[in-house]
């Protein structure tokens, strides 16, 4: 009976965004989102940690080849978001506020479709060193 091991890959992307609800007036956006509502955007160095849980393959000793995981994340996530304006340049956030919470859910949906369901997938996304989110929760 093989035991489960968690493996992690860390990737980065640098992007601009703003937090804005178009259904609200300017005063409400300003009150709720404060400086993050700046119409000229601001930005972050995002750090994404991808965690896969599975059993080591008896032939390779790997749960998942981390080079392949890196390539997968780069092709599907980093190329999509790095040096982009999340509000302006990405289809995903045309009508979705690009909070760290929403970004991590979007990334999860993309990666979940690309990774064999036998691996449990969990993500941690750092917006700054001090603000980060995890999905799925728990």
């Amino acid at each position: 009976m093989a035991e489960k091991v968690a493996v992690y890959r860390k990737e980065n992307f640098n992007a601009a965004h703003r937090l804005h609800n178009p259904a609200w007036d300017e005063a409400t956006n300003d009150r709720v989102f404060g400086k993050c509502n700046n119409p000229n955007y601001h930005g972050h160095n995002y750090e994404l940690i991808v965690k896969l849980i599975g059993e080591p393959n008896p032939e390779t000793g790997y749960v998942f080849d981390l080079k392949l995981l890196s390539d997968l994340v780069k092709e599907n996530i980093i190329d999509r978001f790095d040096h982009k304006n999340l509000n302006e340049d990405t289809a995903e956030f045309k009508n979705l506020n690009p909070t760290a919470e929403n970004i991590v859910i979007v990334i999860y949906r993309v990666l979940r479709n690309k990774i064999d369901p036998k691996f449990e997938l969990k993500l941690r996304l750092y917006e700054t060193e001090r603000n980060f989110v995890e999905y799925p929760a728990g």
Binding site: H42, D82, D89
Partner: protein, 136 residues
């Protein structure tokens, strides 16, 4: 002589784009950093002052007071801003961290109290890229 450093943070958007060049030339020189819709970073600024510890306080200068000065004259102008569009002291300049660290120095020095000597600034754009400026 003791060197004392205070670290501060700001999150901002920018792009590297020379308006005197064509879009193709900008993309050739600045690559992804020329994205016309901006990108952004978590910037980290190390401000180092130098001096002799005061015999009564043991401080070169109270770093809490230094922090307030940096916030008032630098961080509040940069944090959650677009460096190309929103910052008066970057107007008309290319928005590289080389130019930004020089501009921050010039912004900060006039507001330091007499006797507080600025030694260096270190401006970190990503964990892998930073600039340093010593005022010369």
């Amino acid at each position: 002589m003791v060197y004392v450093t205070r670290t501060e943070h700001f999150n901002a958007a920018h792009k590297l784009y020379n308006p005197g060049w064509t879009r193709e030339k900008n993309e050739e020189v600045f690559g992804r950093c020329a994205n016309e819709n901006w990108h952004g970073h978590n910037f980290e600024l190390d401000v180092t002052i130098k001096g002799t510890p005061d015999p009564d306080t043991g401080f070169v200068y109270d770093v809490k007071k230094l922090s307030i000065i940096i916030h008032e004259h630098v961080i509040e102008k940069l944090d959650h801003k677009n460096l190309n569009l929103d910052v008066d002291f970057m107007k008309g300049k290319m928005c590289s961290i080389e130019n930004l660290v020089i501009a921050i120095w010039n912004q900060l020095v006039p507001h330091l109290p007499a006797g507080v000597i600025l030694h260096s600034l270190r401006l970190r754009e990503t964990p892998k890229i930073f600039t340093e400026y010593f005022g010369d």
